[in-house]
Amino acid sequence: MSKIGVLIETADQTIKTSVPGVIAAAALGGEVVGFVLDGLADTYKDQLGAFGVTELVNLTAGELVFSKAPEAAGQALACGVKAFGVTALLGVSSPVGNDLLARAAVALKAPLALDCIDVDFAKNTVKKSHFSGKAIATLEMVGSPFVCGIRPNSFEPADAACACTAKDLAVTIEGCEAVKITKITAAGSGQKDLTEAMVIISGGRPMGSADNFTILDACAEKLSAVVGASRAAVDAGYAAHTMQVGQTGKIVNPKLYIGCGLSGSVQHFAGMKTSKVIVAINTDKDAPIFSKSDYGIIGDLFDVVPALTKELAKLE
């Protein structure tokens, strides 16, 4: 049976939320070998065994700290791929994941596709967006191994408990000093990650002010949602750039996307059209967003959103 490698992306000793979905994708191709860069395979192995990881490999390179040396981390992953004979290396298509996967692919001279929404190991193909989500391309990955980043929430985590063995692989890496991570600056307090969110509620220009976003915050709390914004709202100074969903903002893939006062521009949809269910709230019955959503409520978001919050509160 062939083996598929997965980069286990972690931050502050916590496995990233989207990793189990990637493990489920990898399991379609064979036994799953996880690669850990922070030396904590023993800590993670039970948690990851529950999703179907059979081997969990601590990659080490002497005193090198991979979280500060992305080029070394990419090369270490490449060494892991070779040492364990995996036929593909998968990871979460996040900013850190994409960076490490790209560096690993370059080191392996392997074909690379990032932000994939599907992978077929029998045919060696992946599917990914082209033209801001207007088309889906099927790419043939010519050569083995190949490297593939998976868009968060593209695969459901599987309940596939198995025994997971932790292993160590010490590698030798030289000449990776040219790129060093010197500092990580945390986001503003309370800011949550949009890209991994299962539910998102976003506001457009009609929000009118930064303060008014509190009505979305209140609703988001009931939905366990993350609050996003349109480019128009960001440009108007109502929301932080890090909250922007769309072409030049975040690409998101939640189960539920609620757009409040959004017009429904092509650029905004480029960032969220793969959402499972899209709900639009807008006063203008002719707004283009109603022709691209699953459900719509015609009404003022300042009435509808608080009413929705109240309705959700009844469920508690």
Binding site: A135, E140, V179, I181, G249, A280, F290, D303, E311
Partner: protein
């Protein structure tokens, strides 16, 4: 100082893309310089302006129509351009990187090379890495701030949830620019006229005798079906939100 900016000629993101023969698209739509590349162009021009010397050279791998995107970035202030011509609508990233590297070798040593963090047509997100590898240079992408300091580029990139990584990258290096780095300028008419006289060196991709590793091949391209009209939940505000919550819980099972 010589700064290269890699610019892709891409369909405008608002253009309607019509797919033809399963792997290509009708190119009779509006084309623009790749929006992410423009952040690199703006940064390069400002750096040369601040230094008071040097040149910005734009490099493009594209069809004959790509001269328009090169004219656009030259109107912003790029000094001259090189166009490596190919009619392939989706030239593999590996081939593009090798062609860009070849052009850089011909045009003289680089102090800095900018790309965008990705193109908006094929969204490959990897040309910066492949180009850096061809040139044996370090690379960082998703760059939102840049300070040059004695042979080092101090850059920040956005990671999850708005957190930022600060990196020290030895120069020369390849930097993938993204939104936040700057506000690309809108050229004024005199600059647009002046750009028409600037040099565009053209060469054929086929004549560069590059052997690309065949790595990623487009097999098919399919349009994404848009959703049809939304089901409008009517009634009073209370009735419509109650109906919505019921659907989301019981039918869609997403909350």
């Amino acid at each position: 100082m010589r700064i290269y900016v890699c610019v892709k000629h891409v369909p405008d993101t608002a253009a309607n893309i019509k797919i033809t023969d399963g792997t290509g698209y009708d190119s009779k739509v509006k084309f623009v310089p790749n929006p992410y590349d423009e952040y690199g162009v703006e940064e390069a021009i400002s750096l040369v302006e601040k230094a008071g010397e040097g040149e910005v050279v734009a490099l493009c791998v594209g069809d004959a129509g790509a001269v328009n995107s090169l004219r656009s970035v030259m109107a912003m202030g790029v000094h001259r351009s090189v166009l490596v011509k190919t009619d392939d609508q989706f030239p593999p990233s590996d081939l593009v990187a090798k062609a860009l590297a070849k052009a850089i070798e011909q045009e003289g040593p680089a102090d800095l090379i900018f790309t965008g963090k990705q193109s908006v047509d094929s969204e490959g997100m990897q040309t910066s890495y492949l180009l850096a590898s061809e040139l044996g240079l370090p690379v960082a992408t998703g760059v939102v701030t840049l300070v040059l300091d004695e042979g080092t580029a101090i850059v920040q990139r956005e990671i999850d949830g708005g957190a930022r990584e600060t990196l020290a990258v030895t120069t020369p290096c390849v930097l993938g620019a993204t939104k936040g780095l700057n506000e690309p300028r809108f050229p004024k008419l005199p600059a647009i006229l002046k750009a028409k006289k600037k040099e565009i060196k053209e060469m054929d991709l086929a004549a560069l005798s590059i052997t690309a590793a065949e790595t990623c091949r487009i097999q098919s391209l399919e349009p994404v079906q848009e959703r049809s009209n939304a089901k409008i939940l009517g009634g009073t505000t209370e009735e419509s939100v109650a109906a919505l919550v019921k659907i989301l819980r019981e039918e869609e099972k997403v909350i």
